[in-house]
C-alpha cells in the first residue's frame, strides 16, 4: 500500500480523478501519475473502490460536508469520512465551498432535509461566510488532516448574493484561515458566466493558499458555460494558470476526467506533462 506524501518544496504531484478511464490508464501509463483522487462518496457507495490504493496512492475528495450550507451533515457521514481519511492517509481533504443539504420549504415535523446529489454554489454573502466559518470550526475537529475548499462553478446569481465569487473566495480564505483547492475550470466558468475578467479575478484570490488545482472540461450550452468532466481542459485554463504561476505553489494537480468512459490518452499525457512543466518549482 502506497500513501501520498507531498514533499515540502518538492515537485508538483499530478493525479487523475477516479472514474471509468483510470484503470486502463494506470495499466498503460502508471508512471505518468502520482495519485488517484477518489471521492469519499465513491468509497461509501462502493467500498471496493478503496482497493485502488493497492496500486496507487489516494487523495481524498468529498462532497458531503455541505461546508457553505445551513444544514449540517449527519454525524454518521462525518464519522465515515474520518474513517476513509484515516484509511487512505490522505494529506488533506478537498471539499466544495458549496452546499448539498438544505432545509425543506415545508414545515413537516421530523422531515429529512432536502438532500442533493450535486453540490450547489451558495449564496455569496457575509452571512454565508460566517456560516462557513462556523461549519469549518466544527468540521475541523473531526479530522486529523486539513480541509481545503474548492471554488464552485457559478452558473447564475444565487438569490441574496452581495459579493462577487472572487471576493467571496478570498474572504472565506481569510476569515476562516483555510487553504484552497483552485478548480481553474470552475473559475473560468464563473468569470465567463458572470462577465468578470478571468486573470484579474484570479489575481484577486490569495493564490499563495492554493494547495491543489483541478482541471476539467467546460462546454457552452443554452447560452452559458457548464462544467464538463467528459471533455479535455480548454487551452484557456492552462493560460490562466500560466498568468499567475509566480504566485502559485500548488502541491498537487488533478485532472477530473471522471464522467467519460474514455478520453484520448495522448491528450491526457500531454496535459499532465504541461501541468508538471507549468507548476515546476
Amino acid at each position: 500500500m502506497e500513501y501520498l506524501v507531498p514533499e515540502p518544496l518538492g515537485p508538483v504531484l499530478v493525479g487523475l480523478a477516479y472514474g471509468p478511464m483510470v484503470a486502463g490508464f494506470l495499466e498503460r501509463h502508471r508512471s505518468f501519475i502520482d495519485y488517484v483522487e477518489v471521492a469519499f462518496e465513491q468509497i461509501r457507495h462502493h467500498p471496493p473502490t478503496a482497493r485502488i490504493q493497492e496500486d496507487v496512492p489516494v487523495l481524498l475528495h468529498c462532497s458531503s460536508m455541505s461546508v457553505a450550507g445551513y444544514v449540517p451533515p449527519r454525524e454518521s457521514t462525518l464519522d465515515a469520512i474520518a474513517d476513509v481519511a484515516r484509511q487512505t492517509r490522505t494529506p488533506w481533504i478537498g471539499e466544495h465551498l458549496a452546499f448539498i443539504l438544505a432545509d425543506r420549504l415545508d414545515d413537516r415535523v421530523n422531515a429529512d432535509p432536502t438532500e442533493l446529489t450535486y453540490t450547489v454554489c451558495p449564496q455569496l454573502s457575509m452571512e454565508t461566510i460566517e456560516r462557513v466559518e462556523m461549519n469549518l470550526g466544527r468540521l475541523r475537529s473531526r479530522f486529523s488532516v486539513p480541509i481545503i475548499l474548492e471554488n464552485s462553478p457559478q452558473y447564475f446569481a444565487t438569490p441574496g448574493s452581495t459579493i462577487a465569487m472572487p471576493r467571496f473566495i478570498a474572504q472565506v480564505a481569510q476569515v476562516c484561515n483555510v487553504d484552497l483547492l483552485l478548480d481553474v475550470t470552475h473559475f473560468l466558468i464563473t468569470t465567463s458566466n458572470m462577465e468578470l475578467d478571468p486573470l484579474e479575478s484570479l489575481h484577486s484570490l490569495p493564490l499563495e493558499r492554493v494547495v491543489e488545482i483541478h482541471f476539467s472540461g467546460m462546454s457552452m450550452q443554452s447560452g452559458r458555460w457548464w462544467d464538463d468532466h467528459s471533455a479535455p481542459a480548454p487551452e484557456q485554463a492552462f493560460e490562466l494558470i500560466e498568468g499567475a504561476k509566480d504566485r502559485i505553489r500548488a502541491k498537487a494537480v488533478t485532472f477530473e476526467y471522471n464522467w467519460a468512459l474514455s478520453m484520448p490518452e495522448s491528450v491526457v499525457i500531454e496535459q499532465i506533462a504541461r501541468a508538471r512543466e507549468l507548476l515546476a518549482v
Binding site: 471509468p20 450550507g69 445551513y70 452546499f99 443539504l101 438544505a102 432545509d103 425543506r104 420549504l105 415545508d106 414545515d107 413537516r108 432536502t114 442533493l116 446529489t117 450535486y118 450547489v120 451558495p122 449564496q123 454573502s125 452571512e127 454565508t128 456560516r131 452558473y155 447564475f156 446569481a157 444565487t158 438569490p159 441574496g160 462546454s219 457552452m220 450550452q221 443554452s222 452559458r224 457548464w226 462544467d227 464538463d228 467528459s230 471533455a231 464522467w259 467519460a260 468512459l261
Partner: protein, 277 residues
C-alpha cells in the same frame, strides 16, 4: 397538513434552490406562477428560474453517467450539438418519476431516456431526430447486451406450411433510422467533426443476439424489417401473409424469405410446429 417553514436569508435561498432542483414539477410551477415564490418570502425577481432549470438539466445529465457505457455515440453527439442541457432539463421530470419507481439500473435508465426522446424529437427537427436515431441504435444494442436467458429456435425447415409458426431465434430487434450509425460514428470520432457530412436517408437494421451470445447488426430492406416485426412466435405464416399482402397465397414466397432469415440465424420455427410437420 403542512405549512411553510419560516426561513430567511441564505437558508431560504438555499432551500428554494434545492427544492427546485429535486422537484422539477415545483420548479415549472414557479416559472408559470412566480407569485408562489413571493408567498414563501422570495422576491421572484431575485431568482433566475430559467437558469435554475438549466442547472437541473446539468444535474440530470450527471445522474445519467451510468448510461454512458451503452450510449457513447449519443452522449458524444449531444455534446457536439450542444443539446445536453436542453435534453436533460426536459427529461428531468420524467426521470424523477422513474427513480421513484425504482427504475435505476443502467439499462432501465437507457430505456427511460430512449422512450422519452421518442416524443422529444420530431422528424422535422433534423438535429433532434439524428440524436433520437443514434439513441435508438444504441438502445437496441444495449437491450441485446443486457438480455438474459436468450433461447435459440429450431432453424430446420421440415416442410413448414402456411400453418407453421416462425419465431425469433434469440432476440431480434428492428429499427428504422434516418442515419447510418456507423457513418455517424466515423464522423463524430474525427478530431474536428463535420456534422454536416452526416448522411441522412432511411436505413433499416435488424439487431440480433443469438443463444450463443453473439450480437450482430444487419442492414436489411424495409420489407424484411416489417416481416421480422410481424414474427411474434404466435402468428402462423398464413396469417402473416394475410397481414402483409392481404393474400394467403403469398405463403410460398414468405416461406422462402423465412428460409433466408433462418439461414442468417435470425429465425426458426416453433418447436411443436417443427416436429409436427
Amino acid at each position: 397538513m403542512t405549512g411553510v417553514r419560516s426561513l430567511s436569508g441564505g437558508a431560504l435561498a438555499h432551500s428554494v434552490l434545492a427544492a427546485g432542483l429535486v422537484d422539477p414539477d415545483l420548479l415549472s410551477t414557479w416559472i408559470r406562477e412566480p407569485a408562489r415564490l413571493a408567498a414563501i418570502g422570495v422576491d421572484p425577481k431575485t431568482i433566475d428560474l430559467d437558469s435554475l432549470a438549466d442547472f437541473a438539466g446539468l444535474v440530470e445529465k450527471v445522474r445519467q453517467n451510468p448510461c454512458r457505457m451503452y450510449l457513447q455515440l449519443t452522449f458524444r453527439l449531444l455534446a457536439l450539438t450542444g443539446l445536453e442541457i436542453e435534453l436533460f432539463r426536459d427529461y428531468a421530470p420524467t426521470s424523477v418519476r422513474r427513480r421513484q419507481l425504482g427504475l435505476n439500473s443502467p439499462i432501465e435508465r437507457v430505456d427511460g431516456l430512449a422512450n422519452f426522446v421518442e416524443s422529444w424529437a420530431k422528424d422535422e427537427d433534423p438535429v433532434r431526430s439524428l440524436i433520437r436515431d443514434v439513441l435508438r441504435h444504441e438502445h437496441a444494442l444495449a437491450l441485446l447486451f443486457a438480455a438474459t436467458g436468450v433461447l435459440g429456435a429450431d432453424a430446420r425447415r421440415v416442410g413448414p406450411s402456411g400453418r407453421s409458426i416462425p419465431t425469433h431465434s434469440g432476440v431480434v430487434l428492428v429499427r428504422t433510422l434516418s442515419c447510418d450509425p456507423e457513418q455517424v460514428s466515423r464522423v463524430i470520432r474525427q478530431r474536428i467533426p463535420d456534422l454536416a457530412s452526416i448522411e441522412r436517408g432511411r436505413w433499416t437494421f435488424a439487431y440480433h443476439r443469438g443463444a450463443d451470445g453473439r450480437i450482430q447488426q444487419l442492414t436489411v430492406e424495409q420489407g424484411v424489417g416489417d416481416l421480422l416485426l410481424l414474427v411474434d412466435g404466435e402468428t402462423c405464416v398464413g396469417d402473416i401473409a394475410e397481414q402483409l399482402f392481404g393474400d394467403r397465397a403469398a405463403v410460398e414466397s414468405l416461406l422462402s424469405a423465412f428460409d433466408q432469415l433462418a439461414k442468417a440465424g435470425l429465425l426458426g420455427w416453433r418447436p411443436d410446429e417443427a416436429l409436427a410437420t
